[in-house]
């Protein structure tokens, strides 16, 4: 949240046309030796000069704030939220905000000109997404041709805007429950409640019987004892379980699985060739898993 560092101002196409028209008027005034012709030609010239100041003033001292952008799935529009902050006592009018993706040739402009009195004004700019990964933006551009459209002032306030784009959910494989389908060689492990397999932090919905009370009494959080084969079944969503060659389609399938597992209330973890997550559930866990997919190396990821 800093003041725009530098403002640029140049005549617009209309402004150049205006200058041409002034020249013709001046020639007419000279030719007919018309005093009022001179006066009005110069008045219009003065008007153009004065609008430079007004155009410039329309953007000076305007602050831009940004807020976090909610991640989206590839193909969905990412909504970038900008907030203009006018701390002067005069209103700003007809401002156009424009964002531009850093690498891809996608951009988006405000459809309605923005006007704001003293205070704040929120703008939401949708930008279509294509691939997964970070969608980083160049510095947003604010511009205005207010009041007469003869000059355009623009600035690029130093704001870092980015949106995480998850892979697009894809594929039709069923969830890999232990013992069926893809993970059946692991299904042998399902031995019952007694097979202790580890601890994890308590989450709502865990059975009180599984809480490791001794640890809790020692004020070490509230660990929950995990047993393989416990209900609801834990899912392992694994890269190598998907019989597809294409990386993106594999990631799409994993993405769908994560969404389905979350929706059906399963606890799950994600195993990719070079990384894996804890087993868990909930919005935060889902985001961590999806982020891992989004940033998986390869096309679009980092």
């Amino acid at each position: 949240m800093r003041a725009p560092t530098r403002l640029y101002i140049l005549p617009t196409g209309d402004g150049l046309l205006f200058a041409g028209a002034l020249l013709v008027m001046l020639l007419g005034a000279i030719n007919y030796d018309s005093g009022l012709g001179y006066l009005f030609t110069f008045l219009l010239a003065g008007l153009a000069l004065v609008t430079i100041l007004h155009t410039h003033r329309n953007l000076t001292g305007l602050h831009l704030r940004t807020s976090d952008t909610t991640p989206v799935f590839a193909g969905e529009p990412a909504i970038f939220r900008l907030c203009l902050d006018n701390r002067t006592d005069y209103p700003r009018q007809d401002i156009c905000a424009r964002i531009h993706a850093d690498s891809a040739p996608v951009h988006s402009s405000s459809t309605e000109p923005i006007s704001l009195a003293t205070g704040l004004q929120n703008i939401e700019l949708p930008l279509t997404t294509q691939g997964r990964g970070w969608l980083r933006l160049k510095q947003p551009r604010l511009s205005s041709t207010f009041p007469l459209g003869l000059f355009r002032v623009w600035t690029r306030p130093p704001a870092m805007l980015a949106c995480l784009v998850y892979p697009q959910p894809d594929g039709a494989l069923p969830l890999p429950f232990p013992g069926n389908g893809a993970g059946n060689e692991r299904g042998l492990e399902s031995g019952g409640d007694e097979d202790f397999s580890g601890f994890r932090q308590h989450q709502p919905g865990d059975s009180p019987r599984q809480i490791h009370w001794k640890a809790a009494a020692r004020e070490q959080g509230m660990p929950v004892k995990l047993f393989s084969g416990s209900q609801p079944q834990d899912l392992e969503l694994r890269w190598e379980d998907i019989p597809l060659k294409d990386t993106e389609r594999r990631l799409g399938q994993l993405c769908r699985w994560i969404l389905e597992a979350e929706a059906q209330g399963y606890r799950y973890n994600l195993r990719l060739p070079d990384s894996c997550t804890e087993t868990g559930s909930g919005a935060e866990h889902q985001h961590a898993c999806l982020k891992m997919l989004a940033l998986y190396p390869g096309k679009g990821g980092e």
């Binding site: 209309d14 046309l17 205006f18 028209a21 013709v24 008027m25 020639l27 007419g28 005034a29 000279i30 030719n31 007919y32 030796d33 018309s34 005093g35 009022l36 012709g37 001179y38 006066l39 009005f40 030609t41 110069f42 008045l43 219009l44 010239a45 003065g46 008007l47 000069l49 004065v50 609008t51 430079i52 100041l53 007004h54 003033r57 000076t60 006592d89 009018q93 007809d94 156009c96 402009s109 459809t111 309605e112 000109p113 006007s115 041709t145 207010f146 009041p147 007469l148 459209g149």
Partner: protein, 650 residues
């Protein structure tokens, strides 16, 4: 720019602005163009607001193509001022109809600005200047509307912003106006019709040609005397001298040899003065009879006309010197023959009567007096509206109509002199003028146009005889107003006979003319010469373009800088509650109820209740809201205070 169809609001602005700029042109445009423009604008409004659709494409193309032949058919040409204006108006109308995008709307606005400028090719009065200033503001607001992408805003706020912009542009306009290097126009050949509206004396005189001017209040020239102005009866402003006639029309000599001014030497009795001549698109200058000097750039013809090499198309100031008691006394044999010539067979009755009177008179003087006495004693009338003379103009005037303006008397008198063998010529010009005590100058108007006669008398030279004076002496001594008082006085009010009203009217007219004179000198007449003088005063050589450019840039930068400081000034955010309360106090102050310096809102309210019980209820309510908002719970809505102050009308 976001490309979208112009909103109906934008179209309304455009149509209104275009209507404003076209209206004063309507009298100059052919009727079809005015009607066509109105229909096109209405059609576009119908498209924007109603359910009418735009005309089919082929029809639009046809209409555009039809403009050129239509202009050509009605104007006879495609070039020149009138045809150009018609073309511009028609194209603007078509473009208005075709406005489909902001760019189109912008082009229409530019055409509108062009139309503003075209007005000044026809007239440059103060009134049209003010009107066009308002039109420019409306167009500026229109431009804001176009670029505001249909941002809803009250028209009055748009106009206000546009007005502020124009106001802020004025200092720059003034600097450019004063300092921008003036070029001698015209840059290219002016179209022939450029000066068609200029009024003034013509090169020839026929019955009606001077009386036509008598209805015009237009200023011919203004004179500033070095000393006290001469008496009205001596104010004969010499113009074209007419020698030859075909029986109806009198005309001057083709440019004869230039006469070297006989060196009379400087004389203390010379009248010296400065004339500011309105452009009349002729070559002659006016000077008091008889000019004793030739102003710079002019020559004196044999018959004592001051002539310039080029037609006078700009307001011209010149110094002149005249000797009121001097008469020309040169005549050559050719001149004498010309001054006696009458067309074969013309005016038989008059000539017969002249010959008879000449025989009966003892000398030339007696004959001249007899003719003048005839004008005086017979029922001749001096009138602005002489009847049309169809047959032999002089005979008809002398023996049947007997109503005429100065040209009738001058022509008839000259015929009577020439028929009797006395060389005579007609001098046209102006007689008298109105002294403006405010500006201390004399205004000579077109209605002061006059024609008189010069007779060649052995021993005396050319003697001025004014036959009009015989019929209407007051015309010469008191001026046109006294001779024909009818056109004076505030028109339409029925006050023409009221002396006070006439005096007021005269004062008003003189102030108005003084204003016009300033306008002429500084706005319209500001050219190379005045610029040179002005620049010399601030020590800038008008020949040095670099110096002028530097001065121009510095001064414009300075004025923009001042404006920028003003625009970016830090204004205290201000407490809106306090502001509203102050507004309430101001409203009371207008009723002479003032809040004392040490008086708090509670005390003030009590005092109002005590002294002005009629405001008690409202004042209590406002005070209560104010105190609560400013010092109290602050839970009150400020809009209640705003509303209460707004509707409070003490």
């Amino acid at each position: 720019m976001i490309n979208r169809r112009p909103s109906s609001e934008q179209i309304l602005w455009l149509c209104a602005a275009m209507a404003l700029v076209i209206t004063p042109h309507l009298s100059r445009l052919p009727i079809w163009a005015g009607i066509a423009f109105g229909l096109l604008a209405l059609w576009r409004l119908g498209v924007a607001f109603g359910r009418i659709s735009l005309p089919a494409r082929w029809l639009r193309v046809f209409l555009v193509l039809a403009i050129l032949p239509a202009v050509y058919l009605s104007q006879g040409t495609l070039f020149g001022r009138s045809a150009g204006l018609t073309l511009l108006a028609a194209l603007a109308g078509m473009k208005l109809l075709e406005t489909q995008s902001p760019r189109d709307a912008y082009v229409v606005t530019l055409l509108g600005f062009f139309l503003v400028i075209t007005h000044f090719l026809y007239q440059q009065s103060i009134a049209i200047g003010i009107y066009m200033l308002l039109v420019v503001i409306v167009f500026t607001a229109t431009l804001m509307t176009i670029h505001g992408h249909g941002l809803a805003q009250a028209p009055i706020r748009r106009l206000r912003y546009a007005g502020i912009l124009v106001l802020q542009a004025m200092p720059i306009a003034l600097l450019l106006f004063l300092l921008f290097p003036r070029l001698p126009g015209p840059l290219w050949g002016l179209p022939k019709d450029a000066y068609s509206t200029v009024t003034g004396l013509g090169e020839t005189m026929s019955p009606g040609s001077v009386s036509r001017l008598s209805l015009s209040d237009a200023v011919a020239f203004r004179v500033k005397f070095d000393g006290p102005p001469p008496p009205a009866a001596a104010l004969y402003w010499r113009g074209p001298v007419l020698w030859t006639t075909d029986g109806r029309t009198w005309s001057g000599l083709s440019r004869g040899p230039v006469h070297r001014l006989p060196d009379h030497g400087r004389n203390g009795t010379d009248t010296r003065y400065t004339v500011t001549l309105e452009p009349h698109n002729q070559r002659w200058l006016f000077a008091l009879d008889l000019p004793a000097s030739t102003p710079r750039g002019s020559v004196l013809s044999e018959d004592f006309q001051l002539l310039r090499r080029k037609r006078i198309r700009q307001r011209l100031r010149y110094r002149a010197r005249s000797r009121l008691d001097q008469r020309p006394h040169n005549i050559s044999a050719i001149s004498a023959a010309r001054a006696l010539a009458l067309p074969q067979g013309a005016h038989p009755t008059s000539r017969a009567l002249a010959k008879r009177w000449r025989r009966e008179s003892r000398g030339e003087q007696a004959y001249i007096q007899r003719v003048l006495a005839h004008f005086r004693q017979q029922p001749f009338y001096y009138t602005l509206r002489p009847p049309l003379l169809g047959g032999d103009t002089v005979d008809e005037f002398m023996f049947s109509s007997r109503r005429g303006f100065c040209e009738h008397y001058a022509a008839a008198f000259t015929v009577f002199m020439r028929a009797a063998g006395i060389p005579a010529r007609i001098v046209t010009g102006y007689q008298g003028g109105e002294y403006n005590p405010l500006g201390q100058y004399l205004v000579v108007r077109q209605r002061d146009a006059h024609a008189w006669v010069e007779l060649w008398l052995e021993g005396s030279g050319w003697v001025r005889v004014d036959p009009t004076a015989a019929v209407s002496p007051s015309r010469i001594e008191l001026g046109m107003d006294a001779a024909i008082p009818q056109p004076l006085g505030p028109p339409l009010l029925g006050l023409a006979d009221n002396a006070t009203a006439r005096e007021l009217w005269r004062n008003f007219r003189q102030s108005w003319d003084a204003l016009n004179n300033g306008w002429n000198q500084w706005v319209l007449g500001y050219g190379m010469e005045r610029q040179r003088q002005l620049l010399a005063r601030i020590h800038i050589d008008s020949g040095n373009l670099a110096e002028i450019a530097l001065a121009l840039m510095l001064s414009i930068t300075l004025s923009l800088g001042i404006l920028a400081l003003w625009l970016w000034r830090r204004r205290a955010p201000g407490d809106p509650v306090l502001g509203l309360y102050r507004r309430f106090c101001q409203k009371l102050k207008r009723r002479h109820i003032e809040c004392g310096r040490s008086e708090g809102p509670v005390d003030f309210c009590r005092r109002i209740t005590r002294q002005h019980p009629q405001f008690s209820a409202e004042a209590s309510e406002i005070s209560r809201l104010y105190i609560d908002l400013r010092y109290g719970s602050k839970r009150t809505d400020i809009s209640r205070l705003r509303q209460a102050v707004k509707i409070f009308h003490p």
